[in-house]
Symmetry: C2
């Protein structure tokens, strides 16, 4: 069983997060998606930002995927896969629950706390996925009000 986080596996996992981001965009929401996998490849939960859809500012993509996975006893062998560098809120989630690894679609449009996570022992795989960059670049240009609301700025 492959439990390494290779670039190939990370890219395959990212496809799920991108599909979530695209679903969020189609719903008129913030196009950020995430998925929580176990290192063996099992998908535990997936979700996307739901600020607009549910009027819920607490549901970022990562918290949505984390919630969808339900109650678990330990996260060291899990991987949070997200289309965008996790904000401080979602970075705090990763640190508190000891999620072992984070795969990030891109961090050029926004950089959250992934360096802080790396300094505290979380594995980080930073991809530079053009789909993720395009989703966020177009969204921030089209809806700056919504984007800055979502990150509290």
């Amino acid at each position: 069983m492959d439990t390494r986080v290779t670039a190939e596996r990370a890219r395959a996992w990212l496809d799920v997060a991108v599909a979530e981001a695209e679903a969020g965009l189609a719903e008129g929401g913030v196009p950020i998606g995430a998925a929580l996998f176990r290192l063996d490849g099992e998908l535990l939960g997936r979700g996307h930002n739901r600020r607009v859809q549910d009027g819920d500012p607490s549901m970022h993509a990562e918290t949505s995927a984390f919630r969808a996975a339900g109650r678990l006893r330990g996260y060291r062998d899990t991987v949070m896969v997200t289309t965008l560098s996790p904000c401080w809120y979602c970075s705090g989630l990763v640190r508190q629950f000891g999620i072992g690894h984070v795969v990030i679609g891109e961090s050029t449009t926004f950089t959250g706390g992934h360096d802080w996570l790396a300094a505290h022992g979380t594995g980080i795989t930073l991809l530079d996925d053009p789909r993720c960059v395009r989703l966020m670049t177009e969204f921030v240009a089209a809806r700056p009000d919504l984007w800055y609301e979502d990150i509290g700025e």
Copy 2:
């Protein structure tokens, strides 16, 4: 209009968070409560940990109160009041959204990220409330499994 965070106002706000923690305990849940106030005293949202009640590990007391407040444009003039020192997840929430001040019932049974928040400019009022200490001390002794699940340890 009083917009200072005095010890007297902080203690009055904490009563709301304690009532939430007690409600959570009565429901068989993790007895941690929180409330988000505006500095002018308006209650924006209140809630408690809902891991057990909803099978939702993303609903800590602070995220529950934050969610109940709905979508807001800016948090600088808000105060997060919580019965227990906020974990990294909830500390990340405070930092990302720029919540101006955090009132904490106690930090003797658990210490999260409030020093980190203070270092980044968040106002911190740390009380030493015997009701909060008792709620957590008794809960951790009675349900260590649930408590360590809730903080990912």
